[in-house]
């Protein structure tokens, strides 16, 4: 797969926005750049807070957790690898883990790290292509019929009842087999 190909219907503005976030995380990592942090904060913090509230947190708890998520982002900026995850994916995983720890007060067993060896500088083309594929995935999610999209969202908000999950190993997964599946497969090729 050509790493820099722009896919059909690709929103170039959205892709360049994603590249900007990557540069901002690098500025936080390399220069403790507070302006870059403020830009990332303005975009992501309200979304993290909304996600936490839709997952059942009170506004106060969601605010406290969001600040913690953004502080964790600062501290872990050196671990972010744009060839392996987009900024939105990375922040989601931080938010999920802080939610489990702070709000649900549970442990989160994490997979063992792969032995990558000394970290090489991430390949630029790989990083750009991954941001593009993730943008495609986001577009595929938004293009789903509303009922299907809401079902997937509820699965991530932890908002499906036990019987809903049991019935449909499940409707959310059925919908994923369509355009989302295609986008996921392209993304996977890029991540390998």
């Amino acid at each position: 797969m050509n790493g820099t190909r722009i896919g059909a219907g690709m929103n170039e503005e959205a892709v360049s926005k994603r590249a900007e976030w990557v540069a901002e995380i690098a500025a936080i990592r390399d220069h403790a750049d507070q302006a870059a942090f403020a830009a990332v904060f303005r975009h992501f913090a309200p979304r993290v807070k909304a996600f936490l509230m839709k997952s059942g947190a009170s506004p106060d708890m969601a605010e406290e957790c969001t600040q913690d998520v953004m502080a964790t982002l600062w501290r872990k900026a050196g671990l972010f690898d744009p060839a392996k995850a987009s900024v939105s994916t990375w922040i989601f995983t931080i938010a999920r883990n802080r939610q489990i720890d702070m709000i649900r007060k549970q442990r989160r067993p994490e997979p063992e790290e792969l032995d990558w060896g000394p970290e090489p500088e991430p390949d630029q083309d790989d990083a750009i292509a991954l941001q593009q594929e993730t943008e495609q995935l986001g577009a595929a999610l938004q293009a789903l019929p509303e009922k299907q999209r809401i079902l997937i969202e509820r699965a991530y908000f932890g908002d499906l009842s036990h019987s809903e999950i049991a019935e449909e190993t499940g409707l959310p997964l059925g919908t994923i087999k369509s355009r989302i599946r295609l986008a996921l497969e392209r993304l996977r090729h890029q991540m390998r």
Binding site: A71, T89, F92, A155, R188
Partner: protein
């Protein structure tokens, strides 16, 4: 490391783990399998990417006044040292997430007998699920512990067979309560599994029945 794995996690489990909505015991089994399986690691990354896009679409909540300043103050109060990547496993059969729960590798397990030569160690989790290590002597059947709901069984050493297939190291069996099966450890090597259920176990009440079951083996 992963070329031998034939039985993988279901999409539902990977999605639930990516979303962070699984009971802790299931999460432990998923994290342990993913540690052994590059294929499921890649699929998990897909579902995490999807989670990121769901979050991006979740709308924007209003932050409290001074939220950014409060976060910067939080950062200023944090230790300066950068987090270090956890080292990969060097030896042993337990991947890191499982080692964290056991407090070590195979040698650190505090086994208890459950009958028929089978031993187990229940690992401490949140209580919404039960997760345990099972040690089944070569050639012996896994006791039917009367689970209801879903049961995940991940092989860490040896292998077992049941009516559906053979499960070797790294393989995971996802069994629902409608699956009637009698897993039997393969001859040659004792089998060690990590097993999680989302309903309480009932080993003790079944001891007589389990003992009876082994008479014929």
């Amino acid at each position: 490391m992963t070329t031998q794995i034939k039985h993988h996690l279901t999409d539902a489990l990977l999605m639930g783990y990516a979303a962070g909505t699984l009971p802790e015991g299931f999460s432990l089994v998923v994290a342990t399998h993913v540690s052994l399986c590059d294929d499921c690691r890649a699929r998990l990354a897909e579902y995490e990417a999807l989670g990121g896009e769901v979050m991006m679409d979740a709308g924007e909540a209003e932050l409290t006044d001074g939220s950014l300043e409060a976060t910067l103050a939080l950062i200023a109060g944090m230790p300066a040292a950068a987090p270090v990547r956890k080292a990969a496993r060097t030896a042993g059969i337990f991947p890191a997430p499982l080692r964290d729960y056991v407090g070590g590798d195979k040698d650190a397990v505090r086994w208890r007998r459950v009958g028929g030569g089978v031993r187990q160690m229940v690992l401490k989790t949140d209580g919404a699920s039960t997760v345990r290590l099972l040690h089944i002597p070569a050639g012996v059947a896994v006791p039917d512990h009367g689970h209801s709901g879903t049961e995940l069984t991940l092989v860490l050493q040896g292998a077992f067979r049941d009516e559906t297939a053979r499960f070797g190291v790294g393989d995971i069996e996802v069994a629902n309560d409608d699956l009637e099966h009698t897993p039997v450890a393969e001859p040659g090597e004792d089998c060690i599994c990590l097993a999680a259920t989302d309903a309480p176990l009932r080993f003790n009440g079944l001891l007589p029945r389990i003992a009876q079951r082994f008479v014929g083996i």
